[in-house]
Assembly symmetry: C2
Homo-oligomer: 336 residues x 2
DNA sequence: CTGAAAGCGCTAACAC
DNA sequence: GTGTTAGCGCTTTCAG
């Protein structure tokens, strides 16, 4: 910038004013400066600006695993919304390790991000909460609830609504034993889904549910499914609580040569690209992850603009497809 | 930091030395400083360090669309490798818009990233190349070839190997008309695949291929498939050049109620999570995207360390599955 | 309307 | 070993 100023024969402050569209600049000044800028192909150094202005126009995103389609779409939605407002996103994968969550939060705060978007692996992990409260960097939670001091800013999904609709349909189809293979119990989605299925089932005296929380992994999906199917009263319908879990569930079902939906009805949470081509197609509790990411970004920007805390809840809707059919129990007794 | 120095009764430079593990610090100094650091919970401001040191320990990643599973895994591999060396990743989605690629490159350079990882949408887009040559920020191409001045740093996939194996198997199964539904012709993967299928087919006088390049979209996948199947000599085997294209191809095939592999054999490029549960399972030309991302990150770090330019090529291997069977042409003439 | 000067937080020379 | 000082690139008072 010094170069540009010298070349144009003006002070650095004038160059700065021109580049920042300050109102008090004469046309002649603007012209001379711009000529010099073009001549050198000068581009302002953003790090200098950050230091001076105390703002980095950068947002940190702590995500479990970007290779998970749901999280990738959330990240996409957030990135696009942030970019539209001149912000850039620093992405850190915590591979569902709560310890890494906390380290990443600290690192991002040291890097002076203006705000954080958080989809942490464990809401109860103390170091995570401490890292957040030590810095006073604004943050928005993505489908998480933290036991923190400050009023919560978050975008959440209406998992209860989705699960409730699914359970009602399954009960209507005659299912009396429904299972949920959930992910980590330390995050909101699992807790909400568990609560919802238990409440929904409680409304029908002859319907029961079995819940297997654990982790958002194929391994847990498979192990829980095995356990359920080998139990004394195996469920006639299973709800898989996420993409990775679904894969484990499907693997176990395939290994037992069970036919969906004849032997077992299946519902999954969150859409996944090829699902429409499975036969039968999968009943899905859908939410719009790009919209979630966008909403999270907008909440963060609102927070940065000084607005009061708010939580946005987005819908999760049950979409019936071919993987659910009347329970064998409901039809079998009369025909066999 | 001033606070910490005052509290410990030492100079700021001493605090800096302690925090950076400079060899020439006495134990007593270290102790006093650390006490003060703990007391205030002091964390160094990375922006100050960046400005002073002229390095940001940040790498920019320009990606087409992070919600594409292949690219998400590449990003994951890169991020993990970078983080291990203390680098952080700025992610920008260009939604396959070459103009955005160029803008993102300029923005990242203004932000003083130490290097760039690039998976641009169009290798021939002049502004992209100009943005790269204007800054002299090191970069590594991810499966791209750019007509630039500097010697190329890149990680590439051996698409030729993968396509060649696939074609050979299909020919062995009796297929004589093979089609490739490719993505954008302005990127290396498409060019390599096209060249490979044409070369492979040229070795068999009675085998021909049809190529439909276009875009990495479901729409192109569907449109190209329709065109091929409605043509005079429809192919008996199709190779889909990517995840999105695959979806379009499958949609079109489903719409025509064709059975795979009876009516049509299908091969796809790049693994996608649920593919193993399709029936039949999909023959796939596989490459390890996490390894690609890791390799790209390592190349960039090598470049930053002053090593000479290199290109790493990773394998793409054909994995046979249920979606390929003998051609109807090969068996039909004798039996009908 | 424009220039001079201070300073954001940090580290690396250079003195002592 | 430790302190002093300068300056990374920028913007923003404050004077004029």
């Amino acid at each position: 910038m010094r170069q540009v100023a010298d070349r144009a024969g003006v002070a650095m402050s004038s160059v700065s004013r021109v580049l920042n569209n300050h109102p008090d600049v004469s046309e002649s000044m603007r012209a001379r400066v711009m000529t010099a800028v073009e001549e050198f192909g000068y581009e302002p150094n953003a790090v200098g600006q950050m230091l001076r202005q105390g703002a980095t126009k950068t947002v940190g995103f702590v995500v479990g695993d970007i290779s998970n389609h749901l999280q990738a779409e959330i990240a996409l939605g957030a990135e696009l919304a942030l970019e539209a407002q001149g912000y850039t996103m620093l992405l850190m994968n915590s591979v569902n390790n709560p310890q890494l969550d906390a380290e990443h939060i600290r690192l991002l705060i040291r890097r002076q991000v203006d705000g954080l978007l958080l989809s942490v692996a464990d809401e109860t992990h103390r170091p995570t909460i401490e890292a957040l409260e030590a810095g006073n960097t604004p943050y928005v939670l993505i489908d998480r609830e933290l036991d923190a001091q400050s009023p919560p800013w978050a975008v959440t999904s209406d998992h209860r609504g989705g699960i409730t609709s699914a359970v009602e349909e399954l009960v209507g189809l005659g299912h009396r034993r429904i299972a949920l293979v959930g992910g980590s119990p330390h995050v909101r989605p699992t807790r909400e889904r568990v609560a919802a299925i238990e409440e929904a089932v409680a409304r029908y005296p002859d319907v029961s549910c079995q819940v297997r929380s654990g982790a958002f992994t194929e391994g847990h999906g498979a192990a829980a499914t095995r356990e359920l199917l080998e139990g004394k009263l195996p469920p006639t319908a299973i709800i898989a609580g996420g993409n990775q879990i679904l894969i484990g569930v499907l693997r176990e079902i395939r290994g037992r040569a069970l036919a969906i939906p004849r032997d077992l009805s299946l519902v999954t949470c969150d859409r996944i690209p090829l699902a429409e081509f499975l036969s039968p197609s999968l009943s899905t509790i859908y939410r719009d992850p790009v919209a979630m990411g966008r909403a999270a970004a907008e909440l963060l920007l609102a927070q940065l603009a000084g607005q009061p805390a708010q939580v946005i809840t987005l819908p999760a809707t049950y979409e019936r497809a071919g993987s659910c059919s009347p329970s064998p129990d409901a039809v079998a007794p009369t025909h066999q």
